[in-house]
Point group: D2
Chain length 325, copies 4
Amino acid sequence: MTSPDHATHAPVTAGVLGGTGYTGQELLRLLSAQPGVTVRFATSRSQSGERSPVPGLHFVRPDEAPVDDVDFLFLCLPHGEAAAWTEGYRGSARIIDLTADHRPGSGKEEGWVYGLAERNHEGIAGAARVANPGCYPTGVLLSLLPLHAMGMVDESRLTVVDAASGVTGAGRTPRTDLLFAEVTGNFRAYGAGNEHRHLREIRSLLPERSILFQPHLLPVPRGILETITVPVRDGVTSAEVRLAWRGAYSRSDVVRVLGDDALPDLAGVVGTDRLDLGVCNVARVSPPVVTVVAAFDNLGKGAAGQALQNMNLMAGRPIDEGLRC
Amino acid sequence: MTSPDHATHAPVTAGVLGGTGYTGQELLRLLSAQPGVTVRFATSRSQSGERSPVPGLHFVRPDEAPVDDVDFLFLCLPHGEAAAWTEGYRGSARIIDLTADHRPGSGKEEGWVYGLAERNHEGIAGAARVANPGCYPTGVLLSLLPLHAMGMVDESRLTVVDAASGVTGAGRTPRTDLLFAEVTGNFRAYGAGNEHRHLREIRSLLPERSILFQPHLLPVPRGILETITVPVRDGVTSAEVRLAWRGAYSRSDVVRVLGDDALPDLAGVVGTDRLDLGVCNVARVSPPVVTVVAAFDNLGKGAAGQALQNMNLMAGRPIDEGLRC
Amino acid sequence: MTSPDHATHAPVTAGVLGGTGYTGQELLRLLSAQPGVTVRFATSRSQSGERSPVPGLHFVRPDEAPVDDVDFLFLCLPHGEAAAWTEGYRGSARIIDLTADHRPGSGKEEGWVYGLAERNHEGIAGAARVANPGCYPTGVLLSLLPLHAMGMVDESRLTVVDAASGVTGAGRTPRTDLLFAEVTGNFRAYGAGNEHRHLREIRSLLPERSILFQPHLLPVPRGILETITVPVRDGVTSAEVRLAWRGAYSRSDVVRVLGDDALPDLAGVVGTDRLDLGVCNVARVSPPVVTVVAAFDNLGKGAAGQALQNMNLMAGRPIDEGLRC
Amino acid sequence: MTSPDHATHAPVTAGVLGGTGYTGQELLRLLSAQPGVTVRFATSRSQSGERSPVPGLHFVRPDEAPVDDVDFLFLCLPHGEAAAWTEGYRGSARIIDLTADHRPGSGKEEGWVYGLAERNHEGIAGAARVANPGCYPTGVLLSLLPLHAMGMVDESRLTVVDAASGVTGAGRTPRTDLLFAEVTGNFRAYGAGNEHRHLREIRSLLPERSILFQPHLLPVPRGILETITVPVRDGVTSAEVRLAWRGAYSRSDVVRVLGDDALPDLAGVVGTDRLDLGVCNVARVSPPVVTVVAAFDNLGKGAAGQALQNMNLMAGRPIDEGLRC
């Protein structure tokens, strides 16, 4: 989990605003396992005074947190609160926002760099404020961006994204429809009709492309699997798709490209910060399509893992330092 | 569960070959709850002498079963064995085959009527041998056939079927990949590349249509949810799709059409013999598509429930008699 | 599910106060399947106007319900509200209270008959107000009462009840600790130290007996399994325990006694109104104990099924009429 | 996960016989994360040539493994095969056997040291052959041994162990009763009547004590929770039990004693090598008992984690080096 030369990096300090949701907890666990990283505080309105996932660290109230006294601030607040908070912030900490507030398409992305780590090393490295991508868009964009860049996609036809997520993607606020007895044994579509809020983020990065994004809720705690039907130009094969991905992701261990038309599953990625990509050719369909599957942990590469990558880039550390690959 | 006038039907007798798999068990439970139906025997090679789900009935070895002495024979054998068995059968019982052996596209469908109950009342009623449809095709065909018949589908474009099934769809023979510890928390695609054997059945009923069928394995015991992206002709709306379905299924309580762009889920259908259909319009996509979702229990409408419908039709009973709707 | 002679019973009318919790929903499904029973209303504060589980019946607000105009009123309110409501009720409907408010040990049991159906046929039959037993006590009492009555238990030693329940036993009000992501993969003890509120109910029926009751929360939606270590007098065997049970429960199909030291499991009882009992001898322990296991559905025999038994007795119908045995 | 001074230990080499079961896989993952430990080989009859969980290492056939060329051999074979294999082994590697073959009570324990790491540091450190304890006995013995040693237990009365385990405890060989559809939603007792094979191991360490051990199968992949009713001498309280445990386990981070009568759950330990202990006083019972709960991961402290502790002790490394605490 650690590289042999970690002692050579400059130490960094971090604080987490909103440490009791699923994302905040995962981030705290991940940060606390990093040599050279000190978590100074984690906030909680409801659990201040109680133990955080960082050994020896107790949650503090938001107003008690020394927010000016850390190198990095991670925002794991409810969606909507991060924008309000940062507007009032005058300190010099660099901010990584894990909420949806400053992502492309939010209307508030000005002054924020989009933190899709594998696609924007240099921009992120120099940024003061980074918007951590949404979980679903992370998989869609890492799957599709290299294929569009290589001209492999027939953009006159529709790309269909059928996505499924574990329940931690819906947060930890109690809701009847997220109770165990409602979710177990069930499977359902939601955000139907191309109306999910993540779509605007995807479309900001893939403007003028025709995309249908249909999410579903899985009876599992963690993990996202996205099955994408990609219309490809005549003659494009799964082998060429893999080549395009390998070219795009050669500098990172986080994105793993499976060989031989194998497709990834959730079991292979849950609990890691990896994103696995697979593709296979499709028979009996003309004009041609390929089936792409992306699998990753919504709390790993879909949230906390990617936030750590962004911190690594901003701090001049290797991008994959400390990631569970 | 029973209609008030059941006493007026002529009694029928039935036998089940292969009663210990998930399909056989479900069928035995369903048959044993029917007034006017007597289950004479259920066979099992491994559990002969043990209790069957029918109160008072013990499993017998296949060679002990009085296969000439019932009105209806249900075949719940492993795929492949039903064809061999029926070739040697010289009795006069009418046969309902729940295996894949005699379905359209199998190459052995001659002499067999396809038992998609809502679509072929008259053919089934007079048949001596009926091939019960596959679980996945049941949902795809009941969703799409009325839309093609009404000319609503743009057949120049691809229909994408993303399907997900609970594990009983894979049978009860022990396999490492179906162990609890392998399935729980996981979700995965299989039969990728348009290579699933159910596709030939779908294509036999929808020849020359362009269809991609991609199944997934869900960590639930029962239920199938199919999310279908249907390319529609300009101006076709979800309301018209519902009208087409309602016209096609007015004579049955088994197919239920949800209103107001609502989409069905597994929780609403598991343990029943119903198939729920929903459809919604899709924004920001041109040329237009609609999203169709079909939900049903793979052991209900996907197997035993449909077999009972077929028996009802063949015996001159109301098609939905005794179904869990 | 129905006996052949149901047409001979006088029809009854029923109303349900609190129809949207897990118990209320199950009761409505069960009542609506009964020939001869008409559900006049079901109340809900949050979902008035929406469909209830009874076909054709919509929820009404509590103040709209014709509570004087039914034969039987079922109370499925939150614990505490049933007592307040019945104090103000002046109508003549007979009441079956599924909450904890009027159970033995509650301090408010005066004027209420305890509805442990198998143990008090006559008392229940003539009662105006019946307190439906708690789910856990139902299993403990049906296991132990006949053994104490026969003098089989060594009352100088401790009886240890290790119980485990599915999450619907905790109700449907949203709580963080009942979210899917918190419950799946987990198992935990609660109500430790002999402090669970159900204990007072058990102790009221088994006064001066030494009992330890330790419940646990299972990652399943429904079902209770109670493993009871019963100290028995010298020479008492599992066979004699079965005889005692069979003698006590000969008039009911609800309680099923397994043979041959077999022990029941949840899978055999979930979705039914049955309670399965098993017992086995224990080696290498002196003085002797036997292991008793009771399994049942907390929403079936543990709630709605037992309530229906009570209504049957009060209405002069066969006790097991319409139960899922 | 690593201590700062790991570079100072002498490097060790290891081989694993039987690397594809749940225990073997977990051990390989754990060993491969250890600085200073090199896994030379992992064997598999069915998957030789395929990738192992150790990056860069492929499974080899048992006859290809360089079993004389490592410092430590871990046996993760099916129960029964380890004894046969070690009888024929003439090499000098030190052996840690994770099977049941050489545990106390097996009849073949001569020449083997029992590897209950917290209880036998010195004996294990000097041993050539170590029998890794069974999963269930690990929790029972770590709970009870200090209490017996301190004279806290009233040995004239029965100690009742109600235990529940996730399904990986039953191994990875396909069996119908371990299929997902059979386990999900279910809960059942097994090994009833004090007949479980782990009991002989427990009784070897606690001779002449009266113990009832009743295991259950949980619908979870990993984790064991043991709820133990301990008869204590008059005046013994939960606080004293905690003191006894803290005295016994002061040198290890693996055993964690919860305070304030709190009881541990599976969620807190799954995926770790820790064992959490909690205890609470019991009201309304005389003579007195306390309720003890032990929670741990059957693949962690119950198997691979403990095996690593044993290797650490044998290699002169700190006992908790590399453990997930």
